[in-house]
């Protein structure tokens, strides 16, 4: 639901004129989800008749874009979409496979409209193979690709993911695929069809455990895998998430060698237990993590997570407060100093915050020129000014319900 919008957001941020085509009669899911100012609801608790211009998730994904509405079920609507495609150089979609084909919008057709078109198809399973039409969203992709299975405490059900990580990651990789295709077209004049399967992207993100399976034949179904917050490799210890003062407050600490261990014990004030033989070497600490983690938790339990993070970092220990979105937005001096988040006004929502790009360029500039378009807000500008449609035709199509 967010993959396509999130992938093109990046292009809009950096100067592309992105026109989002929507269907008035089948509202985009992020327009419907009840993420509103002043109302805390789970995303399952949708309005029956949502205000399409009020949804925060839509605003988050669609800044810096133009928005038009086209009724793709009408022949005139499809004709209009083709005119828009002919005047564009990149087309992206993330419908279930087959939908664009039903509208006749194959790569071959698009090439007839614009010979060097780049046509990016973003789907869960890719556009070929027996499961191409399987339904998916983030959690399904994470399950099928193996990312959920490799996450959790040993011997317990997987804890997997608490977010659609693969919606975002598939979007990011789709962005770089689009940029690569544009780079190639600039060099050669040649367009491309792009097929990204989120499941295949997910498998590329499984990490070295995949090779442990393919090379060493290791099983990941035993009672020793996955390993929760502990690592299998390297022999880091302590390596965990420990309780801090407050409700559901935690700190992550990762110690990889003797030097960092000495930093940790110094930060603790060198208590006697740290010199016990069971903690005398990295290997010993790694082998005795149950005892070590109990000691660690007893030490961290009454401390402020941020204060502790800074104290440990001062001793050269990798430590991070487990931060919420509230923390990263409002209380993180590192993020604030780099200006990651920013604000823009929205005609219905009002002032809203946006996720910036976690990249600082010395030359390339991100231009934030508008919040997300209202439903059909740019119909007139896009159809009349960009496509050159005259007043009469515009009025006729409008009256016929093509927009």
């Amino acid at each position: 639901m967010g993959v396509g919008a999130c992938a093109t957001r990046l292009l809009g941020d950096f100067g592309a004129e992105v026109i989002r085509i929507e269907d008035r009669n089948r509202l985009d899911m992020p327009r419907r989800l009840p993420i509103y100012k002043g109302e805390a609801r789970t995303y399952g608790e949708e309005d029956a008749n949502p205000d399409p211009n009020k949804g925060g998730l839509f605003n988050n994904y669609n800044r810096n874009k133009l928005g038009v509405t086209i009724n793709m079920r009408s022949p005139k609507g499809r004709e209009l979409a083709e005119r828009l495609i002919a005047s564009s150089s990149v087309v992206t979609e993330n419908f279930a496979p087959g939908v664009m084909e039903r509208w006749g919008l194959t790569y071959e057709r698009l090439q007839k409209l614009r010979s060097d078109v780049i046509y990016a198809r973003m789907s869960g399973f890719g556009h070929s193979g027996p499961h191409a039409e399987y339904r998916s969203y983030g959690p399904v992709v994470q399950a099928v690709s193996g990312l959920s299975h490799i996450s959790g405490l040993p011997g317990e059900e997987p804890s997997g993911w608490g977010l659609s990580y693969m919606d975002n990651e598939a979007a990011f990789f789709n962005s770089s695929a689009l940029l690569t295709a544009i780079y190639h077209r600039n060099l050669t004049g040649q367009g491309a069809e792009i097929d990204v399967s989120a499941v295949e992207a997910g498998i590329n993100l499984l990490g070295p455990v995949l090779l442990d399976v393919s090379v060493n034949g290791r099983s990941t179904r035993g009672s020793d895998f996955p390993t929760g917050n502990r690592l299998e490799h390297p022999d880091a210890a302590p390596h965990g998430v420990y309780p801090c003062a407050g409700d559901d407050r935690w700190i992550a600490i990762a110690v990889f060698n003797d030097e960092e261990w000495r930093g940790l014990t110094a930060a603790m004030g060198d208590p006697d237990w740290t010199v016990e033989p069971q903690f005398a070497s990295q290997a010993a600490r790694f082998g005795n993590q149950d005892a070590l983690d109990a000691r660690m938790a007893a030490w961290t339990r009454d401390k402020d997570r941020h204060e502790l993070m800074h104290r440990l970092q001062a001793q050269g220990v990798a430590a991070g407060a487990v931060q919420t979105a509230q923390d990263t937005n409002d209380h993180d001096p590192q993020i604030a100093s780099r200006g990651l988040f920013f604000e823009m006004d929205h005609p219905v929502i009002g002032e809203a915050r946006f996720e910036g790009t976690p990249i600082k360029f010395s030359q390339t500039v991100q231009e934030n020129w508008r919040s997300a378009p209202l439903l059909g807000e740019d119909n007139e500008y896009v159809f009349k000014t960009l496509l050159g449609m005259d007043e009469d035709e515009y009025a006729a199509l409008d009256a016929e319900g093509v927009f």
Binding site: L179, I203, F361
Partner: protein
């Protein structure tokens, strides 16, 4: 569609570009590898003892050594390895000589390390105006935490994804999702950053400094947690293997007869998936009272949610996860089997797409690796070539005038 799955005679879009990599973590190594897979010639400079990632297991077989780390193999395909000790004048001279000819310099060094080596990334872009310096670090090159140490766990914790992941029981700490996703997040933004810089260079002829922060990458990779903070100003609460939400939702993991799991979000409110679920259960003779007309009333079934949940739990318990996955999908429901990595190699869909790829490793034989992340119809990815042994290409890279030997590119694209 005819998009290429890797290999084949199609051109590689970054062919002809030279990348020099000084990376001490997998985020930078992965980023440079992706450039290599798009056809760039990547030279990895390593200290005499090798990249730190060469010492991270698991290892191939029982032999732990710099050339058998599977962590190193995973993130360092399609590269050449040359030993150059940047702590020495000779090593630094080698780096500068390579940078003079390079298009992209991938660095993971944090500012204190750069300063200790006498390297200034901004100055490099002035000295070598066409050079794109792609810096991928824990916190970026500026800011009060700039030299703080990080790791995958620490990045996911401080950046925000971690608090959304774990179990319903909040006496259990948040649990790190597996597979180095903090670093992978940094890599995916690095990929975007370097492509934007290459496009800019196509227009202006000039390189630039691209400063990617893993911490910030994680902070914008939390999905709904940010909009839930931007708009209603609530922090989402983690739940077992399903979306963190402002308030609790029903479990979505179902155990099957073979002790594997499927993910299925049981949503009662939407009439279409509800009807599909009941029809599917009926087809197996297990719909029980759910077939009764009163259950088609939303308020009625919502009032009996626990009854519904129990019946669905029983329904999954009598079939295998694979069966539930395929039949559920055939019924039009978004259901996913929780594959283990070892299940993927025999997945019929991935096989039909020819996804996995075999790479020859001397003395070991063919090793199965994941195939490409993306497929393009008019150009392709270079076939995967095994990660280099430590210093395997030192003589070629350092020898002679410093020009890349003619054989180097051919070797990478064989």
């Amino acid at each position: 569609m005819g998009a290429d799955a890797g290999g084949g005679p199609m051109p590689h879009p970054l062919a002809g570009l030279k990348v020099v990599e000084v990376a001490e973590d997998i985020g930078g190594e992965f980023a440079a590898m992706l450039l290599g897979q798009m056809g760039a010639a990547v030279t990895k400079l390593e200290p005499p003892q090798g990249s730190p990632t060469r010492r991270v297991g698991p290892f191939a077989g029982a032999n732990a050594g710099p050339d058998t780390s599977l962590t190193f193999w995973f993130y360092n395909a399609n590269k050449q390895s040359a030993v150059a000790d940047l702590a020495t004048a000779a090593g630094m001279a080698t780096l500068r000589r390579l940078l003079a000819e390079a298009d992209v310099f991938v660095s993971t060094l944090q500012p204190a390390r750069l300063a200790a080596l006498g390297l200034d990334l901004a100055t490099l872009t002035e000295e070598f105006p066409k050079l794109i310096v792609l810096s991928i670090t824990a916190f970026g090159l500026t800011g009060p935490w700039v030299d703080y140490k990080s790791s995958d766990l620490v990045a996911l914790a401080a950046g925000g994804p971690l608090i959304s992941c774990g179990y319903d029981d909040h006496s259990i700490p948040p649990i790190r999702p597996g597979g180095n996703q903090g670093y992978h997040t940094a890599t995916s933004f690095a990929q975007i950053g370097v492509m934007l810089a290459l496009l800019e260079r196509q227009k202006t002829g000039r390189g630039q400094l691209v400063d990617v922060s893993m911490h910030e990458g994680c902070a914008v990779n939390v999905e709904l947690a940010n909009p839930y903070w931007f708009y209603p100003k609530v922090n989402v609460q983690r739940q077992t293997c399903r979306h963190a939400q402002p308030s609790p939702t029903q479990p979505a993991l179902f155990r099957c007869a073979d002790d594997r799991f499927v993910y299925f979000a049981l949503i009662l409110a939407d009439p279409k998936p509800w009807a599909a679920l009941v029809a599917w259960m009926e087809s197996k003779g297990m719909a029980a009272q759910l077939s009764e007309p009163e259950f088609s009333d939303l308020a009625y079934r919502q009032g009996r949610f626990h009854e519904v949940q129990e019946l669905v739990e029983c329904f999954f318990l009598v079939q295998t996860a694979e069966e539930a996955y395929k039949d559920g999908q055939a019924a039009g429901l978004p259901i996913g089997v929780l594959n283990a990595p070892e299940d993927l190699f025999s997945d019929e869909h991935l096989q039909a797409r020819g996804f996995f790829t075999q790479v020859e490793h001397e003395g070991i034989g063919p090793v199965t690796y994941p195939g490409p992340i993306y497929r393009f119809s008019s150009f392709g990815q270079a076939p995967r070539v095994r990660a280099p042994n430590l210093g395997e290409h030192t003589a070629q890279v350092l020898g002679g005038s410093g020009e890349r030997p003619a054989g180097a590119l051919a070797e990478v694209s064989q």
